[in-house]
Subunit: 416 residues, 2 copies
Amino acid sequence: MKQYMQQIGKQARQAAQILARTQTSIKNKALEAIAQQIEQQNAPLLAANAKDLEAGKAKGLEAALLDRLALNESRIENMIEGLRQMIALPDPVGEISELSYRPSGIQVGKMRVPLGVVGIIYESRPNVTADAAGLCLKSGNATILRGGSEAIHSNQAIAECISAGLKAARLPSTAVQVIETTDRAVVGQLITMPEYVDVIIPRGGKGLIERISQEARVPVIKHLDGICHTYIDDKADLEKAIAVAYNAKTQRYGTCNTMETLLVAKEIAAQVLPKLAEKYETAGVELRGCPASQALLSNIQAASDEDWDTEYLAPILSIRIVQDLDEAIKHIGLHSSQHSDAIITEDWSRARRFLTEVDSSSVMVNASTRFADGFEYGLGAEIGISTDKFHARGPVGLDGLTSQKFIVLGDGHIRG
Amino acid sequence: MKQYMQQIGKQARQAAQILARTQTSIKNKALEAIAQQIEQQNAPLLAANAKDLEAGKAKGLEAALLDRLALNESRIENMIEGLRQMIALPDPVGEISELSYRPSGIQVGKMRVPLGVVGIIYESRPNVTADAAGLCLKSGNATILRGGSEAIHSNQAIAECISAGLKAARLPSTAVQVIETTDRAVVGQLITMPEYVDVIIPRGGKGLIERISQEARVPVIKHLDGICHTYIDDKADLEKAIAVAYNAKTQRYGTCNTMETLLVAKEIAAQVLPKLAEKYETAGVELRGCPASQALLSNIQAASDEDWDTEYLAPILSIRIVQDLDEAIKHIGLHSSQHSDAIITEDWSRARRFLTEVDSSSVMVNASTRFADGFEYGLGAEIGISTDKFHARGPVGLDGLTSQKFIVLGDGHIRG
């Protein structure tokens, strides 16, 4: 196993050197060829996926997992569409910035370069195979992909499309390697080879991500909880507050940028909460609140201490009435997962304070937390969302898969 | 020990929250107050240092180590000067960039924020205590400093100055904590508290840095070797080539950006090498070369395989004659420590290729590798040089001690 993974690592490292200097047009050609392969291999892909689904059902996998595992025409179409959108994105590699003259006469600037080899560890969704491979390829990185054992046939089928696409663009097939074995020891090996792997991106449940972060000997770009807050300030515009707080909770329940806790300033609570509660009730959202909010509303249970630290990913919302902005910021500091938090206010100084003092990967004023997303931010696509501060924070797009080296241009300059 | 360090960590985390929102003027006030304290405490500082030196001599520390440990008027002056230069640097915290409208109508941008708590582990140089504390303070980070046991009295004396300076600016004294015990277990604890420490910066010998990287459970900004190359292309301007290659080796021997290997294109070797060798000989530089360079020069020994992978930090230079740019890039790819590598050429396309294809933290054209330095690059000061790719690469200044969060500005925007 160790030998097998080291071989994979060595091959990835070699491919990375080639990818780092591959022209944009060639990378785009490969992306288009992969998209075409997936288009053409529609039937074999669905057949491979049917095998996985059958095995999954036989194993008794739960319905939600089987749903994530399933491919259909529209999901395959999305993979293809995703790859074509990557072609349209500007190539980050080689971008030179901040180039300026120094007093010594040299010019100093930064050039964007690929990280090298990216290891992706994910669970059941087979579309990650194409999405992640495409983003890494566009940013000039070699990829080692390790999907869930339950998706092995689907992933292999997608891997064949990728391999054929790389071949069509005359890129090494080792530029994207999909691990063929379901042996669990693979993961342990992949995350402890700093000589061959530059970064690990785990995508999946919290358990997987925590385990990998614990054991990795390689940097990890990770995303844990999404416990997002919206604070309705007493200087908020009522209509906007209701629209945004409603959208942040109900636009989708299962996403990490969905609001899980609503904070409301005491002074405005009686005006805003009853109206909002009515809307939530109609949408079928269960409310859990502090005593003060219980006093205002009828359709609300008592929130437990745990509720303030829970990512529901469900039509449940905890509500807390706070004294003022200070108490809101304090609550967020204690309970936010530092993913995305918003304030609704028309007060300039409070908005300014909230933006500065809330230490989350996305901080918003008068906007729904549901906007925290690579597409909405204009990154084009995201390989994940980072709740860390190191290297990349928030939605991670192509730039997060690159680094910057310094370039120095002179004309025979020596140091005095 | 564990409890002691966790207490330190907790205090640092609390101080970091205050520092993150501290105005530039207050941070600058603290820096100036620390500088003034060091100025006033000149005599006690020298006395504390004398104690360390005495103990060091009694322990039989080698001369180089004692030299690094020693403080004198001019070194204290440098510490003070360094702190005052930090006052003049722009505050990176809160800087907003890339703010633009998205199709949805929201504005999305990035705001620079401190990393949080920075742990610095260093060896004998006491000036690191003031330098590192100052840079972390200016960038809004809390600092935990762990110096070498041989410098304990000097570090404590500097710590008192820092503490008094923080107090004068009404900042918490826990914003900079200097570990008071020389117990070695401290380091193991400091690098495994991700809940309290956001990044570790080790400064010192390769052994220290490797050990810390191995064992850390926290991101490490590290610098290992500086095996730097200069490649003299056959399209080089002879005069520039000689000036730059001479400067890169001889301007200072013990620094990480000093050239250790000179590569020369076959076609130009006979023109350039004899002249250079003469200059090196005059300067007392020992030459070790490949057979082809030995055939050209008299004052040169045979280089062993090891020489190509050695950071001499001494008046020794290895020389290799290569066929062309391809062979030079290949040699650099195999033997460079990815610190700083330079090409000397007047050929546009070759310079362009070298800049793109050499994967080092600084890549240079027609300039001495000795320029790879935070001051020369205009970063103002550096907390270290990173030979990693993740997060920070090359000289690390204030920006490297920060991260960027996304900010989203709307006017009641909801996601459709």
